[in-house]
């Protein structure tokens, strides 16, 4: 029982971490249907600038804020220069965002050097404690809480405000939305910036979790995020959350019970889901 709870809790934390990463992509890829391979680049920039200011100022909060600001700014630049000319064209999106990804990744090394940087959680989030026989790692609990927070805030914005509708409508038919008097360009830009900020934030949160950051981590993790968005059903926040947790927990359990397959968990999970439910978990057929 303790074993199960330990696995579940840690799997949940991993899931939340993946969700944080996928959340930005749910907006950008799931909602706006932009295949943004530079997402990983935003992730590492968030991580590096965040960690840099965290280590400089000694305050984790400052790190988080800086990461978010970096995300917003980079999102703005990315949207205006890179994405805007290629909305609606996946092929061009792949090429241009991959190019930009290379630039972002390599630029990290120019600014912060090529070495990996070690990061540890702030003092108040360090360590772990027992409840009964189940071990709780503080930083992971923090991640779980933050993940839920992000989830609820995003859900609120999407469901309770018109923004969500407008974005979805804008993806389907941009001209029509404009004809209805909506500045879709601005809306898209804002959404993109928020998505980027989420990527940057997750980069920052990821850093103390894995203990180190390095320039190449971006692409690796963004592929995982793509997987989660697709399993969840494109554009569905709840789907992404569910899928991320599923992946996290499946990883934990697979690693324990079928270690031989643990390398392939994500892939297997996605294969099974897509073969039996081609539209993803949280998406009505259509």
């Amino acid at each position: 029982m303790d074993l199960i709870s330990t696995l579940v809790i840690n799997g949940l934390a991993t899931g939340m971490l993946i969700f944080l990463l996928a959340a930005g992509l749910t907006l950008i890829f799931g909602l706006m249907s932009v295949l943004n391979f530079a997402h990983g680049g935003l992730f590492i920039w968030g991580a590096y600038t965040g960690v840099w200011s965290y280590q400089l100022s000694g305050s984790f909060i400052v790190g988080i804020i800086v990461a978010i600001v970096t995300g917003l700014l980079l999102g703005l630049i990315t949207e205006r220069l890179i994405i805007r000319p290629v909305y609606g064209n996946h092929i061009q999106q792949i090429l241009i965002t991959l190019g930009f990804m290379l630039v972002l990744q390599e630029f990290i090394k120019v600014v912060f050097g090529p070495n990996q940087i070690a990061v540890s959680p702030p003092a108040f989030l360090q360590g772990s404690f027992y409840v009964g026989d189940v071990i709780f790692i503080k930083y992971r609990l923090f991640i779980i809480i933050l993940g839920l927070l992000v989830y609820f805030v995003s859900m609120f914005i999407l469901k309770r405000t018109r923004i969500g509708l407008i974005v979805r409508a804008g993806v389907m038919n941009k001209e029509m939305v404009q004809s209805l008097g909506i500045n879709i360009r601005l809306v898209f830009m804002l959404v993109f910036m928020v998505g980027s900020a989420m990527a940057a934030l997750s980069g920052m949160l990821h850093a103390p979790y894995s203990g180190v950051i390095y320039a190449e981590m971006g692409l690796e993790f963004s592929i995982l995020a793509f997987i989660v968005v697709v399993i969840g059903g494109m554009g569905s926040f709840s789907g992404s959350l569910f899928a991320a947790i599923l992946v996290g927990i499946a990883q934990a359990f697979m690693a324990y019970y079928v270690p031989a397959l643990s390398l392939a968990v994500n892939m297997l999970l996605m294969t099974v889901v897509l073969i039996f439910r081609p539209q993803g978990l949280f998406k009505a057929k259509g």
């Binding site: 330990t6 696995l7 940087i117 070690a118 540890s120 894995s210 950051i213 934990a252």
Partner: protein, 400 residues
């Protein structure tokens, strides 16, 4: 060994330089008077920092070995660095270009085992000596061995022997945790056999996804197996250290041990302070003239930075080559060189190394250490417990 005849002589004489890639600062003297060395390393990409260390170490090594003259036996030494980008295709292309266009006499490299394996057959084909540094895969001097390959780098088995020497003993229960790919498997397997030969008992063998972010299951299993020592083979990012500490492995009476790699990884091991392990190199550990020179020169040349793991390696490769040339009196005939180098001993920052005759693996010193917090840095540093002699960590011969 295989004796694969080659057919490149015809091409060689017609070889014209189609591209000028001259990375060395040296101006070559008259042809024939120059000895060229081609160095392959990951100068960009994920292993960039390794490549950078090799490069610096190699440069310093040549300087040291020639007393700054850049000449050996009256011949000028010229070296050319090429980037492999940690991509076997690029590595091979770069190697061909070095061998053909630059007509190098030696190859050195490279930062990844995959790149190195893509290149070693070329050494054989062109009948040139290749000094492998710092790739560690056992197969390079094992199943994929050829006569032209000499390795100054340690191989995974040596690591394992060092680790085993540090912790294993009669009746000691051990467990391993390693990433689930060649490097991890090589390392864990070698450790287990080394430890078992010292009388230890293996209670658990665990492999984790190298990209995993959650090691709960793996650590949980290890805790359940109740070993005395947990030997962790790890390289690259996504380190399990934090979680090992967070899950209070030590509270279960399990001592963690591992190899301490380059300086950049030390901060990730903060939580492991107090741990016993081993290392290949840390600038304060080896106590010899060469290392003193290296540390001093490196500091003055690079803003006070100290040399790192592969700096010493790169230097050793350079020292090996120059030493061989000294012994042949500048003769670059491959057979002569090979004969000379087999069994050759030479001084390096890590003490005396010897190329074993059978598989051309350099036997070398390793260091048994304790990670201790230091006042100087905000990360723990390895403190020497005992230098392990080359014989102690000699790996089995695997190329038969």
């Amino acid at each position: 060994a295989c004796s694969d005849s080659n057919d490149t002589s015809g091409e060689k004489e017609t070889s014209s330089s189609t591209e000028e890639a001259d990375g060395s600062e040296e101006v070559s003297a008259e042809p024939g008077e120059t000895i060229k060395i081609g160095v392959l390393a990951s100068l960009t990409g994920a292993l960039e920092s390794y490549g950078d260390q090799t490069k610096k170490g190699f440069e310093l090594g040549i300087e040291y070995a020639t007393d700054g003259t850049m000449e050996v036996a009256g011949k000028k030494i010229e070296y050319i660095f090429k980037d492999t980008e940690t991509d076997p295709t690029v590595a091979r292309q770069a190697a061909i270009s070095l061998l053909e266009d630059e007509e190098v006499d030696f190859l050195v490299g490279s930062s990844s085992s995959g790149d190195t394996l893509a290149v070693t057959p070329l050494a054989e084909e062109y009948e040139k000596i290749m000094v492998v540094e710092p790739a560690a895969a056992d197969s390079i001097t094992g199943s994929e061995y050829n006569d032209y390959v000499f390795r100054t780098a340690r191989n995974s088995s040596q690591d394992a022997f060092a680790a085993a020497a540090a912790v294993a003993g009669e009746g000691v229960k051990i467990a391993t945790l390693a990433p689930d790919y060649s490097f991890g498997h090589d390392g864990a397997k070698a450790f287990i056999s080394a430890a078992e030969s010292l009388g230890a008992e293996l209670v658990h063998e665990e492999y984790a996804d190298q990209a995993a972010t959650d090691f709960t299951a793996n650590i949980q299993k290890i805790i359940e197996a109740k070993p005395d020592y947990l030997y962790v083979v790890w390289a690259g990012a996504n380190t399990p250290w934090n979680q090992i500490v967070d899950m209070k492995v030590e509270d279960h009476g399990i001592k963690v041990t591992t190899g301490v790699a380059d300086i950049a990884t030390l901060p990730t091991m903060t939580a492991l302070a107090g741990m016993e392990g081993f290392t290949l190199y840390y600038h304060t550990l080896p106590d010899n003239e060469v290392n003193d020179w290296l540390v001093e020169q490196h500091k003055s040349k690079y803003d006070g930075a100290v040399p790192d793991l592969f700096t010493a390696g790169g230097m050793s490769a350079a020292l090996a080559i120059v030493e061989a040339l000294k012994q042949t009196d500048g003769d670059t005939n491959t057979d002569t060189l090979m004969e000379t180098m087999e069994g050759m001993s030479f001084e390096t920052p890590k003490g005396t190394m010897t190329f074993r005759e059978e598989d051309h693996q350099a036997l070398q010193e390793m260091y048994s250490v304790t990670l201790e917090e230091s006042d100087e840095f905000d990360y723990p540093v390895p403190v020497l417990k005992r230098a392990l002699t080359p014989e102690e960590t000699a790996p089995p011969i695997m190329n038969q």
